[in-house]
């Protein structure tokens, strides 16, 4: 372990700031075939709901040139009880780092019940997804108004002792207002951004590529947007931020941290280069030397210190 890379989220020490983002890493099994996933600072596991979900019809995936992809998976998962009985013990048996439990719901009650069940489990952080663009009557609906975001935050906080990080949507007029509402309602931290609502059309068939019509755009193309939003929120709240959105290399990680992120999630990049998270962690010390960064905690929000 390299102490220069260590960071802390709500009192939990992570060996480094790198966390694969929920929905791009499953429960780590596929990646463990390629490298020892214990190098990761944390893992945000596949978005979990109260009940099992198949998700959206196919096709769920559309490519966006060299810059990213659209997905409309729609929270396919086996349900929180299955996750607690099977996936979480398996992850715990071969991973010692910070486990971030990503949770979604279709009602406040859904979020509450799922988080209450996970509260008794060996997870470190609850990442409450109020920003999934791919489900109706839920997900993003809670992340697009400050009142609803605050309601979910307060309700979840009431049933757990785990740190609660609210995962925010970029598909809003004012992300700062929503971040502030979460902070006022007792959130321990924030994670941003989720995917950007997008669309592709198959011009030969004259219909949307994605069966669900729209989906979440992710990949390198959204990095500047994510960086801007992380920076806006960092300047407006005092909560720790997990920065997410289009991060593809170690340079992006440094940039995200300079904007105000304490930790950094890697999303779509895992799907195109399954080694990317490890490659970033391996590259960080050299890059830090080049940039004369002694330890990563020194640069968090450094552009906001004027």
């Amino acid at each position: 372990m390299n102490d220069k890379l260590q960071i802390s989220l709500s009192g939990i020490t992570l060996a480094n700031p790198i966390i694969p983002a929920s929905g791009t890493y499953g429960f780590g099994d596929e990646f463990a075939e390629l490298y020892d996933i214990n190098c990761l600072g944390g893992i945000s596991f596949k978005g979990t709901t109260r009940e099992a979900r198949y998700g959206n019809p196919l096709p769920r995936i559309a490519e966006c040139g060299n810059y990213g992809m659209i997905n409309a998976v729609g929270l396919q998962n086996p349900g929180v009880e299955h996750v607690i009985a099977h996936e979480l013990p398996r992850l715990k048996s071969h991973y010692n780092g910070c486990i971030v439990a990503n949770v979604s719901g279709f009602s406040v009650q859904d979020y509450v019940e799922t988080c209450a069940l996970l509260d008794k489990e060996p997870i470190d952080i609850l990442e409450v997804n109020i920003s999934c663009p791919n489900v109706h009557n839920g997900g993003m609906a809670f992340g697009t108004s400050p009142e609803a975001a605050a309601e979910v935050t307060a309700a979840v906080k009431a049933v757990t002792t785990k740190p609660v990080y609210m995962k925010l949507s970029p598909n809003v007029t004012d992300i700062v207002a929503i971040a502030k509402a979460c902070e006022a309602a007792g959130a321990d931290g924030l994670c941003l951004i989720n995917t950007v609502l997008g669309m592709r059309i198959d011009i030969r068939r004259r219909r949307p590529v994605i069966a669900n019509r729209y989906g979440g755009y992710s990949g390198a193309g959204i990095f500047p947007l994510a960086l801007r939003m992380v920076n806006q929120v960092a300047r407006a709240t005092s909560l720790p931020i997990i920065g997410c959105g289009g991060v593809s290399n170690a340079e992006d990680v440094i940039e995200m941290m300079m904007a105000g992120a304490t930790a950094v999630e890697i999303g779509a990049a895992n799907l195109t280069n399954p080694m990317v998270a490890k490659e970033i962690i391996d590259r960080l010390p050299t890059l830090m030397d080049e940039l004369k960064i002694e330890k990563l905690t020194d640069i968090i929000g450094i552009v906001n210190h004027e």
């Binding site: 198949y54 096709p59 769920r60 995936i61 997905n71 998976v73 990949g219 195109t272 280069n273």
Partner: protein
């Protein structure tokens, strides 16, 4: 799954919009019905392509392609910008390839008279399967379905393996006129298939469910992480890239 570098040894057109690429690199562990996922410069997602064959090193100068390392053969159709870019890659190009992906066919179920049915670019995975079934001494019947004569490929290659080969074309310009189902004789012990969905549906309707089907879906990662290609089956959701692409016909809900 393994992430490896392969080098392009050949890349040539073999039928209308269809190309064959031979790659040298480590082919260890690949079984018939599995696929590789290839990074193509300029494209965000990889291109998942079924494995047509793997060959061990040759040191025989009478062979057209004398190679000292194992060879991986893939056959792909140009359907968009990614595969179009692949078709222009020169010999010697190094490719970033995820390999040993998916489950592959279960050869132990074949019985003595397996039937292999390939439609269009569903034909390539049948080749390695046919070769291994022939090595096991099975009487392999192969039906290859295409739209028209210009699209036909690998007819002679399957014959060279000692398979009983029937080619069908929709327009009758080559082989038997009609669909692959027109060439069924009902004498197979088991079947293996890969091809377009309408063909698979028709085949299951005509030949029953005593067989295995390789499914195709748009994929994100190709190795089980993103849930982009999950189909619903009678045994619950299954990822085409991970639990598949090969499924017992009886669990499919088409």
């Amino acid at each position: 799954m393994k992430q490896l570098t392969f080098e392009i040894k050949t890349n040539e057109q073999i039928a209308k919009n269809v190309y064959r690429m031979q790659l040298s690199g480590d082919t260890t562990g690949i079984i018939p019905g599995q696929f590789v996922n290839i990074r193509v410069e300029g494209q965000f997602l990889r291109r998942p392509i079924s494995v047509c064959n793997v060959e061990q090193p040759l040191n025989n100068t009478t062979q057209p392609l004398n190679h000292a390392t194992p060879l991986l053969t893939i056959i792909y159709k140009v359907v968009g910008v990614g595969t179009e870019a692949m078709s222009r890659l020169p010999i010697g190009t190094q490719l970033d390839v995820l390999t040993v992906l998916g489950n592959g066919y279960d050869l132990s179920k074949s019985g003595d008279k397996p039937l292999l049915v390939g439609g269009g670019v569903g034909v390539p995975p049948m080749y390695m399967l046919a070769r291994q079934l022939r090595e096991m001494g099975k009487a392999v019947r192969v039906i290859l379905g295409f739209n028209t004569k210009e699209e036909v490929f690998y007819e002679e290659e399957f014959r060279a393996l000692g398979c009983d080969v029937t080619v069908t074309t929709v327009d009758g310009s080559h082989g038997t006129k009609g669909f692959v189902t027109n060439a069924l004789d009902g004498k197979q012990s088991y079947y293996y298939t890969c091809g377009p969905l309408p063909m698979i549906k028709a085949l299951i309707q005509a030949a029953g469910t005593n067989g295995e089907v390789s499914m195709e879906e748009r994929m994100g990662c190709g190795f089980g992480a993103c849930m982009g290609c999950t189909i619903q089956t009678t045994q619950g959701p299954k990822r085409v890239c991970k639990e598949g692409p090969v499924f017992p016909a009886e669990i499919l809900q088409l």
